[in-house]
Symmetry: C2
Subunit: 467 residues, 2 copies
């Protein structure tokens, strides 16, 4: 759709909702905020302008129409979660800059990378190792691992757009991309919107999901998915090249070329382990996750592993600060002004009589596939998570079960399309997989994930006493 058509659609949509009669039991202000919010989210999906611009326009309209005050509209820019994400980008930056991220991958590859399937697993394990401390799935999957995957493809003479694409490249690209979505789901600090899931769970249900609980609940279905996904893709979308003895040699060569770890790498590793330990023990130390991340960034600044110039050169943090700050601000007030509770009450009345198990299942399926309409996991979480989790809870689903299962699906849905999350355009854009195939694999992977996470996960969460 053209820019102006999209703009017109967004504007008309917002205006129509704005001027609809305000439903009983709702403040006009809450309804008007909904109108601006829906228009902004549709704008973030259609992108007549980039997400950041749409979010900025959204909060400006909120302030201009006095739906929110200027301080309210800007409030989320001081949100600790937003700054955790900014720090996460800086962590990822230090991994990329010092080469620590690729060194870890090469080390794993050198040990067990002689078969294509193993190679797939090694890359996924690398992703898994990096996941807890790289809250941007895009930074991790796109910044650290993609360059390795891409150079591996070339090392095996597998180039995009030709007959050699299927040798190894196509397989590695889809496997790595899908597994990145799984590792994202496994830790609160493995994807930008996961802390947002916990913030919204607190806002809507008043529950505190700790880092440890998230990781524990995700561990069994996550490991099952990471074991099955590379294998399933190996069977259903096989690489032509199945044995890769060169991988070990290549990794050894790369590691030899690099020599021993540099001081910078050691510092980043120390910060990384330190942050992991502090994040994992935050319930004991009471140290705020953002404070831990800020401390890590300060250590890297003082030791000059990361310079201030690096920070300013990196556009990710600032872009994310803007669009996420704008959306989080609006989403927060959507709840504070009473829309979310009202919506949950209304929808829950309409699914009255259905037991919570089928109700939650329906909600999970709808939540997953609604992501065809989103270009950002965060936009999806911001727009749909509060309402869906509120409805699930109202239907009688145990609150932690509802919040966590929707939280996990908030990551897994990222595998559906080539625009679903930041890593998608990168891996798709490499050109090894055609769009139709990409979507079919995305759908297949989503079904596998649903079976594993809702099925195996459901049993595990029963064991944990979440329901």
């Amino acid at each position: 759709m053209g820019k102006w058509k999209s703009f017109l659609l967004v504007t008309v949509l917002g205006a129509v909702i704005w001027f609809l009669p305000v439903p009983a039991g709702l403040k006009p202000q809450a309804w008007h905020l909904l109108a601006i919010f829906v228009a902004t989210i549709v704008g973030v999906i259609l992108q007549p302008l980039p997400m950041g611009a749409m979010a900025l326009i959204g909060i400006t309209v909120c302030a201009l129409t006095k739906t929110l005050t200027v301080p309210e509209a800007l409030s989320a820019f001081a949100d600790a979660t937003i700054w955790l994400i900014v720090c996460a980008f800086l962590f990822a930056r230090s991994f990329i800059k010092t080469g620590l991220g690729s060194r870890i991958a090469y080390m794993l590859m050198g040990k067990i990378g002689d078969k294509t399937l193993k190679l797939g697993y090694v890359l996924c394990i690398s992703d898994l190792i990096l996941a807890p401390a790289t809250p941007s799935n895009t930074a991790r999957g796109g910044g650290v691992l993609f360059p390795i995957v891409r150079s591996l493809c070339s090392a095996f003479d597998s180039e995009p757009g030709g007959p050699s694409a299927r040798r190894i490249g196509s397989y590695l690209m889809v496997t790595q991309f899908q597994c990145n979505c799984i590792t994202s789901a496994m830790f609160m600090t493995a994807m930008a919107a996961n802390p947002l899931v916990t913030v919204l769970s607190k806002q809507v249900l008043n529950i505190d999901i700790s880092w440890g609980l998230w990781a524990l609940a995700a561990s069994v279905p996550g490991i099952a998915a990471l074991v099955l996904m590379p294998l399933a893709l190996y069977k259903l979308y096989p690489p032509e090249l199945k044995h890769t003895p060169e991988a070990k040699e290549m990794a050894a060569l790369e590691l030899k070329k690099r020599g021993p770890m540099t001081t910078a790498e050691k510092i980043v590793l120390a910060v990384f382990i330190g942050a992991l330990v502090l994040w994992a023990t935050s319930t004991i130390t009471k140290l705020n996750a953002t404070l831990v991340a800020l401390l890590g960034v300060c250590v890297m600044l003082v030791t000059e592993v990361l310079t201030w110039k690096d920070i300013l050169d990196d556009k990710g943090p600032w872009d994310t600060l803007m669009w996420m700050g704008g959306l989080v601000g609006m989403a927060g007030f959507l709840n504070k002004l009473g829309f979310i509770p009202w919506f949950a009450k209304t929808v829950s009345a309409s699914i009255a009589g259905i037991a919570w198990v089928p109700a939650l299942t329906i909600l999970l399926v709808v939540y997953m596939y609604a992501h065809y309409g989103f270009a950002s996991l965060t936009a999806h979480v911001t727009a749909m998570f509060p309402a869906f989790v509120a409805v699930a809870a109202a239907a009688g689903a145990p609150v932690f079960l509802a919040a966590l299962s929707l939280g996990f699906l908030s990551n897994l849905c990222g595998g559906l399309t080539h625009y679903s999350t930041g890593t998608a355009p990168i891996y798709f854009g490499a050109g090894y997989v055609e769009q139709g195939t990409w979507w079919k694999i995305g759908f297949g992977a989503s079904v596998l994930n649903m079976l594993i996470w809702v099925g195996v996960g459901g049993l595990w969460w029963k064991v944990l006493g979440l329901w």
Copy 2:
């Protein structure tokens, strides 16, 4: 001073203050915040790391020591003033990108630029015209006008570092630099820290300085200074070339080469005039200055005069957001936790018995020349303005007089050194003026400014009824 020495000094300084006995009547928390704040400001001056890094470390230490909570430490990132400055950088960006800024300068030059002195005035008038709507003096002086000044120098065969430097270059560089400080003082929206002056005046004295009052109070001394400064420099630091008939021709050529105004320039001009009108009438419309700026940015985004990429490519906004957000947060709590009122009470007791006129005069002189120790007008304002304005008020000086005169000097002190404000390293770094000369001129200009602003200004403010 070396990086590690500076770091050590900053750390020791902070630790010494921290462990000094807390003065009676002060909460330990307020004293500890002072320790961190002073160390941060000294860090911002000595810069073992860039300002943004020092500010980030400062707020992290605040949160780590529980001197401030994490939300308190981050609070200023949602400050409307901070976002006004971010928008200002984006306004400046659009001026530079579309060429509207240099077109305005060429138009003025074409009309009255045939003599060097006139040329000096034309550049200053260009600066004055841009000043109300470009709240970054660095963006205006460095981004818009410096390229014109520098190319004018070359057009007159005046090159840095050799005997031709004095032909015209040296004169134009110091004149433009000094006049930028004067225009900065003339409008609340002409320098990044000016809105901060008003915020701090509100915090400390609970007075509202409107955009209109600022401009009115600054008008007479500002115009007097803009008339006298180019002339004084012309007499005391004369250019060798005094007649410049080429300027008119060059401007005409440049304007002809460009042809008529582009649509983009027209849009920026419309936004610029619109913002000016809305800023100037904000007391009537009740439109928040930040909202006006946000609206302007949105219009430029929608019309694609400014793209989202432009915004992310520009490092100024993000750098300033970080260091100013950090410092403003700390400075705000220095007041909220009671340090500023305590300090003002203590100092005012020590100047007890002195009438407010000599007391304010002493404060103004000390405030001006303290800037030898600062590398940023904002750091100066953040560190010294609250205490000084509180002391002046406690001594009996009329509150608006005290706030405004200190506010004006917060800009004028920017002319003292080659590191005093963002424009200084740019104009000095062009290489037309030696460091010793630069400092002498800086001191001379400061004396002239003091005489004009305190003398002529004092009379004008009497007429206005400010005292």
